[in-house]
């Protein structure tokens, strides 16, 4: 089996005159946490959308789990084993927490029991129980997702993406808007999630979190890949320091 689960080659997309992603390429290894960082407007979200099938690339290729998945749509990507969360919480706010997870977990039934009562989907229901436990949402199971606190909604967002039992999980700024405690808990959770069966691709604003948990870091700047390597290598890279850390530090102090 190929060591790399995701290979991105020369990926580009333009929106009108703006080239959001310009010939970006990198590999994500199986079981690793790979992170993409970069200042606002660096093209991280567009890159994520390209990989997860939300938008189609104009050039380049995406290879996932040994298949060419270039131009796959979202449904096809989930079927291939790649699932994603969203930066702006994207849940079924009018449905209960349990129902949010059950809808997502139904995928692992592969169309079985579609017309039988939901209780009959044993696999999916077990998966929901597992996730409620793991994400500490058990006590909130019957609550409407719209009534959860922000931290809880962010947790549910990750749990929903995980419910289809993917080979790779794309997390789009999972700690966005979280309190410090919540962020630390999420950091531990992400670290725990990564395993031989689950690789993680992370887009994150919180550089410290990324440096703590990533195996491999890709730095983007103005739509292009600026550097990549281990957290230590990236931290030491003078180009990265100039383009990225300088700016972030500057913002933090301002």
């Amino acid at each position: 089996m190929d060591k790399a689960i995701l290979k991105v080659e020369e990926l580009s997309v333009r929106f009108g005159a703006l080239t959001a992603v310009k010939r970006v390429g990198f590999e994500a290894q199986r079981g690793h946490i790979t992170s993409v960082i970069g200042p606002n407007g660096a093209g991280k979200s567009s890159l994520f959308n390209l990989i997860s099938g939300a938008i189609r690339p104009m050039e380049g290729r995406v290879l996932f789990d040994g298949r060419d998945t270039t131009g796959f749509n979202a449904v096809q990507m989930v079927s291939a084993g790649l699932s994603r969360s969203f930066q702006i919480t994207n849940l079924f706010f009018e449905l209960s927490v349990h129902e949010n997870l059950r809808l997502a977990a139904q995928f692992i039934e592969h169309g079985r029991g579609l017309f039988l009562p939901t209780q009959r989907s044993r696999l999916a229901n077990n998966r929901v129980d597992e996730l409620l436990e793991r994400f500490a949402l058990r006590s909130r199971a019957d609550e409407l997702a719209g009534y959860l606190s922000h931290g809880e909604q962010r947790r549910l967002e990750i749990a929903t993406a995980l419910a289809c039992n993917p080979k790779m999980l794309l997390l789009d700024e999972p700690t966005q808007g979280m309190s410090l405690t919540d962020t630390q808990e999420t950091e531990a959770l992400i670290k725990e999630l990564a395993s031989d069966d689950l690789s993680i691709l992370l887009v994150e604003h919180d550089v410290e979190l990324v440096m703590n948990i990533s195996d491999h870091v890709v730095v983007m700047h103005q739509g292009e890949k600026l550097a990549e390597g281990t957290p230590l290598e990236v931290r030491a890279n003078p180009q990265v320091q100039a383009a990225y850390f300088g700016e972030v530090r500057g913002h933090a102090h301002a």
Partner: protein
């Protein structure tokens, strides 16, 4: 955060079931009384309410469950009515065969229409379904073979069982009631399955459903076909009741009335549209006996509901009943949630 209306799948389920049982119980009592006093007018009117209730159910499946606003559901209703009228005029067959034929053929028509309409989203879908019905009704209106503007008259009664026919008011009312109960039970059951829940999810957040790995187009198209089939089969009962069909059955007024029935009754509750259909069919008849301008009354009533009670009668009654029940049991937590 009070803007979330609870869908049929959550806590309302108990009071909704109660209201459903009540609806069918009242209908049976009504049939009994009407038969004893040998009434025909009100039995026929109630049968009509049931038939338009079927159309309202099909609208609710799309509008209340799947989140698609169909402005041309009369297309399928009218198609079923014409198909049934043509079959009954040309062949002597039992009602079961007629309904089966109408169910399948209107599903097929629904598939064709769905392939055109489901491609587009939101208001585009609404306007395309509107246009489709408008165009087909115009064609029917101008087709001499289908009786043009006169429609088809003199449709004979259909045999239900030996000795029972659609011409007997009580028998046909009970038949229509049974048909509606069947459709209601089917839809109610579907809402308990992953299939129905996906439809609800599509209404809540279609974008996310795709990222859960489900092809929303297939779900929407299948719901559209099912709704067309329900509307068509309901329509098939119309010529058996009234003995004629006319192009008006496909006109926007019929689609519009179905939507009014659904909104006034309670969108997404399934039983609400049946209450709405019964109440408004009655109201139209009562007001219609005083003035030819009953649409004015219905229109004003409808606007008041849209502005002040967008959840409809059942949409307000059901949570209220729920709170009552929970107060009885003393569960404070759930009561707070119900508000």
């Amino acid at each position: 955060m009070g803007e979330f209306s609870r869908p049929a799948s959550s806590k309302q389920i108990n009071s909704l079931r109660l209201l459903a049982v009540l609806f069918f119980a009242i209908s049976c009592v009504f049939a009994f009384i009407a038969t004893v006093v040998e009434d025909v007018f009100f039995l026929r009117l109630a049968t009509e309410a049931m038939i338009f209730g079927g159309l309202a159910l099909s609208v609710d499946l799309l509008l209340g469950i799947t989140g698609l606003l169909p402005l041309g559901q009369a297309l399928f209703f009218g198609f079923g009515a014409y198909a049934a009228a043509l079959i009954l005029k040309n062949w002597t067959v039992s009602i079961w065969l007629v309904l089966l034929a109408c169910m399948l053929s209107s599903a097929l028509v629904g598939l064709v229409a769905g392939l055109i309409a489901i491609r587009s989203k939101g208001v585009y879908f609404a306007l395309i379904s509107f246009g489709l019905a408008q165009v087909v009704s115009k064609i029917v209106f101008n087709t001499v073979e289908l009786g043009a503007s006169d429609g088809i008259i003199g449709v004979p009664n259909a045999q239900i069982l030996p000795g029972l026919s659609s011409g007997q008011p009580t028998v046909f009312f009970l038949f229509a009631l049974m048909f509606i109960a069947l459709v209601y039970s089917l839809l109610n059951y579907l809402m308990k399955t992953p299939y129905g829940r996906q439809l609800i999810a599509i209404k809540a957040n279609e974008h996310r459903v795709a990222f859960l790995g489900f092809n929303t187009w297939r779900f929407k198209l299948s719901a559209f076909v099912l709704a067309a089939s329900i509307a068509g089969t309901s329509g098939a009962l119309y010529p058996m009741l009234r003995g004629f069909v006319s192009p008006e059955l496909m006109f926007f007024q019929v689609s519009g009335n179905a939507i009014i029935n659904v909104i006034v009754g309670g969108t997404g509750t399934l039983i609400g549209p049946l209450y709405g259909s019964a109440l408004l069919t009655g109201l139209r008849s009562v007001v219609g006996s005083f003035t030819p301008h009953h649409q004015l009354v219905i229109g004003v009533l409808f606007m008041i509901v849209v502005i002040l009670f967008p959840r409809g009668i059942i949409g307000y009654l059901a949570p209220m009943l729920d709170r009552r029940c929970q107060k009885g049991q003393g569960t404070v937590q759930q009561e707070a949630r119900g508000g």
